[in-house]
C-alpha cells in the first residue's frame, strides 16, 4: 500500500497534448453561436439565394421550402400552440445563426462544405425571406445575420437550467 502511494505521488498527471496548429483551429472552428462570433466576411442577398436554391436545394426541399422529400423549411409560423403544430425553420428555429451554420457545414447533403460563405449567406437570406422574416431585398452578412429576429426566438425553455450558471 505504501509503495503504491509513493509511486502515485511520484507520478505527474499526463500531459501529452501538442499545441494546436493555428491553421487547424482556423479551418475547423466554423461553429456559429447566436451572437454571431466567428461569422466570416462576405454577404449574400435574397435574390442570389433564390438562384442557388433553385440549382442546389429545390430537389430536396421543394419550391419555396415546402419540403419533400427532405425537411419542410417554411410555413407554420404561429402554429406551434395549435392542434396541428408545423415545425419548420421559419416557425420553430430560434436563431438565424443556426441556419447559416447548418447550411455551411452540412448542405447540400450530397456535397457538404461545397458552398462558399457568400452562398451560405445568400441561401440563409432566401430561406428567411419566404415567410417574410427578412425583407425581399435583404442582404445578410456578419453584422446583420445575428440581428435577425426569428418568430420563435422566445419559444424555448431551458429544462436543465444549465444556461443560468
Amino acid at each position: 500500500m505504501f509503495k503504491t502511494i509513493a509511486f502515485l505521488l511520484a507520478t505527474a498527471a499526463p500531459h501529452f497534448g501538442a499545441p494546436a496548429d493555428p491553421a487547424l483551429v482556423k479551418a475547423w472552428d466554423r461553429s456559429i453561436p447566436p451572437d454571431g462570433a466567428g461569422l466570416p466576411a462576405g454577404k449574400g442577398s435574397v435574390s442570389e439565394g433564390l438562384a442557388i436554391y433553385t440549382e442546389k436545394c429545390v430537389m430536396c426541399h421543394g419550391v419555396n421550402g415546402v419540403g419533400k422529400p427532405s425537411d419542410q423549411l417554411t410555413g407554420g409560423v404561429g402554429s406551434l400552440a395549435s392542434a396541428n403544430p408545423v415545425k419548420t425553420v421559419s416557425s420553430f428555429w430560434p436563431y438565424a445563426t443556426t441556419l447559416f451554420d447548418y447550411i455551411r457545414r452540412a448542405m447540400p447533403i450530397t456535397s457538404p462544405h461545397s458552398l462558399s460563405d457568400h452562398e451560405a449567406y445568400a441561401l440563409t437570406a432566401y430561406v428567411l425571406s419566404i415567410d417574410g422574416i427578412v425583407k425581399k431585398d435583404a442582404v445578410l452578412d456578419a453584422k446583420s445575420l445575428p440581428k435577425v429576429m426569428m418568430p420563435n426566438r422566445d419559444g424555448f425553455i431551458d429544462a436543465y437550467g444549465a444556461t443560468k450558471r
Binding site: 498527471a13 499526463p14 500531459h15 501529452f16 497534448g17 501538442a18 499545441p19 494546436a20 496548429d21 487547424l24 483551429v25 475547423w28 472552428d29 466554423r30 461553429s31 456559429i32 453561436p33 447566436p34 430536396c60 422529400p69 427532405s70 406551434l80 400552440a81 395549435s82 392542434a83 396541428n84 403544430p85 415545425k87 425553420v89 420553430f92 428555429w93 430560434p94 436563431y95 445563426t97 443556426t98 451554420d101 447548418y102 457545414r105 452540412a106 447533403i109 450530397t110 457538404p112 419559444g155 424555448f156 425553455i157 431551458d158 429544462a159 436543465y160 444549465a162 444556461t163 450558471r165
Partner: protein, 411 residues
C-alpha cells in the same frame, strides 16, 4: 393456476425438474447411427482470425428506410432476440445523419480549443497513452420508442421495431475532464461544443461541469476498438444522456461561454409542449423498461410456463425495481433483477409465469433510484404537444391473444 405470477419460484422449479426427469427415459431399440452425428465423426472447421455468429443465426439489425443519402437514417437493435445486458457490437443501433465516415486512426486528429489557456491537439496514438476507464452504459437515441408516441393507433411492430434505438456496451476511454484540465479551462468557459468529423458536421453543446465530471472520450467498445458505426476511432460518451450528444467520429471540442445552439439542439431533440413552447436541453434519458420476451409479433407456444424477461434502464442512475402487471394494470408484481444493476446501464429483469391461455395484457413499469417512475401513455401524451415524440418512456403494453399472438397495444 390462472394468469397469476408463480407464487413460489422454488416450488415451480422443483415441479418442473420432476417432470423433466420422468421424460428422459430413452428407448433402447433406436439404431446407434441416428445418434452418432456428422459433427461427432468429422473433424470440425479450422480457426478464424475474427469469429462470426453461427450461420444458423439470422439475428439482424432492423434497417429503417434511408433518407436522401444512403447512410442518413438509422437501424434498430433487435432487442427481442438478445439476452443479458450487453448488445453485441455488430447489433448496436445506428443513427447517422449523413453516413458512416471511414476515418484513419493514423491521421485522425482531436482538437481541444476555445476558452482554454492552451489549445491542444491529439492523435489517437497520443490519446492511447492516457489512463483509461471502463464503464458499462447504454446509449439511447432521443427518438427511441417514438413510434408509440406519434402513431394514433398502435403500430404492429416488434420490441426492436418500437424500442430498438437503445443498446448497451462496455465503453473504455479517457476521461474528458483530464484533457480539459490539461488545456486549462478559462473561468468564462461554461459549455463545450462537441463536433463530429462526419459529412453532417454533427455537433451538440454540453454543459462544461457535466462534460468534465462524466464525459468519456471512448476508444473501445466491448473490448475492441469502436465499430465504425459507433464513431471509430473516437466518440464522446455522456453516460445516460441523449444518444445524439454522444458525438461519434469526434474531432473537435470547443470550450464556449454558452450553448452554440447547433441544429440538433434547437430544431430537433427538444420537447414541444401544448402551449407552443419547447423544453430544450432535455439531456437525461428518462426511466424505461420493455418486456422483450414475449413481445410484439412473437407467437406463444400455448398455455404453460414462460419466463417473462426484458430490459430496463434510466439516465438518472440505477433501476430500483421493475413491476409486471398481467391484468391491464390493476395489480403489479415485482420482477427479479438478478444483476448486475449498474447506473445508466441496461439491466435484465425476469419473472416466471404460468399462462392459462386466456387473453392477457402484459406491462412492465420501472422505477429508478431517484424515484422516477414510467408514466402511462395517456399521462405522457397529456404533458406534451401532439407532435412530440422525443424521450417517450410510457409503459409498454403487449396484448397476448388466445390465438397465441402478441401485439403492441395502447392501454
Amino acid at each position: 393456476m390462472t394468469n397469476k405470477i408463480a407464487p413460489s419460484r422454488r416450488k415451480f422449479l422443483t415441479t418442473a425438474l420432476a417432470g423433466a426427469a420422468a421424460a428422459t427415459a430413452v428407448p433402447l431399440s433406436v439404431k446407434a447411427d441416428e445418434y452418432i452425428t456428422p459433427s461427432m465423426t468429422t473433424p470440425g472447421k479450422a480457426f478464424t482470425p475474427y469469429g462470426m455468429p453461427s450461420g444458423h443465426e439470422e439475428v439482424k439489425r432492423l434497417l429503417r428506410p434511408p433518407g436522401i443519402s444512403p447512410g442518413s437514417g438509422g437501424s434498430q437493435s433487435p432487442i427481442e432476440s438478445l439476452e443479458g445486458m450487453i448488445t453485441p457490437s455488430g447489433l448496436h443501433f445506428e443513427r447517422h445523419h449523413n453516413g458512416i465516415p471511414d476515418l484513419d486512426p493514423k491521421t485522425h486528429k482531436f482538437l481541444l480549443h476555445g476558452l482554454v489557456n492552451k489549445p491542444l491537439e491529439f492523435s489517437i496514438a497520443t490519446l492511447d497513452r492516457y489512463p483509461r476507464v471502463s464503464r458499462m452504459h447504454f446509449v439511447e437515441c432521443g427518438g427511441n420508442s417514438g413510434a408509440n408516441a406519434g402513431s394514433p393507433t398502435p403500430p404492429p411492430l416488434s420490441a426492436g421495431g418500437i424500442h430498438g434505438l437503445v443498446s448497451c456496451s462496455e465503453w473504455t476511454g479517457v476521461k474528458l475532464g483530464m484533457l480539459l484540465d490539461e488545456a486549462g479551462v478559462k473561468p468564462e468557459g461554461k459549455w463545450i461544443l462537441a463536433e463530429s468529423a462526419d459529412a453532417a458536421g454533427m455537433s451538440r453543446s454540453v454543459p462544461l461541469q457535466e462534460a468534465h465530471e462524466q464525459g468519456i472520450l471512448a476508444l473501445f467498445q466491448n473490448g475492441e476498438r469502436l465499430r465504425p458505426e459507433q464513431g471509430y476511432p473516437l466518440r464522446l460518451l455522456m453516460p445516460g444522456w441523449e444518444g445524439n450528444l454522444n458525438v461519434k467520429w469526434l474531432h473537435r471540442i470547443k470550450v464556449t461561454a454558452g450553448p452554440t445552439m447547433a441544429k440538433d439542439e434547437t430544431s430537433k431533440y427538444s420537447q414541444s409542449l401544448k402551449n407552443g413552447k419547447a423544453n430544450q436541453f432535455n439531456f437525461i434519458q428518462p426511466v424505461k423498461s420493455v418486456i422483450t420476451r414475449p413481445s410484439g409479433t412473437m407467437t406463444m407456444n400455448g398455455p404453460g410456463y414462460y419466463e417473462i424477461s426484458g430490459i430496463t434502464w434510466s439516465g438518472h442512475g440505477k433501476i430500483a425495481k421493475v413491476e409486471i402487471s398481467m391484468d391491464g394494470g390493476s395489480s403489479w408484481t415485482e420482477a427479479e433483477m438478478p444483476g448486475p444493476v449498474f447506473p445508466q446501464c441496461l439491466a435484465r429483469f425476469r419473472l416466471p409465469w404460468e399462462w392459462d391461455g386466456k387473453p392477457v395484457v402484459m406491462q412492465s413499469r420501472a422505477t429508478d433510484e431517484k424515484g422516477h417512475v414510467q408514466p402511462t401513455r395517456a399521462a405522457w401524451k397529456d404533458a406534451v404537444s401532439s407532435v412530440q415524440f422525443y424521450q417517450y418512456n410510457a409503459i409498454q403494453a403487449w396484448q397476448i391473444g388466445a390465438d397465441n399472438t402478441v401485439k403492441n397495444i395502447y392501454v
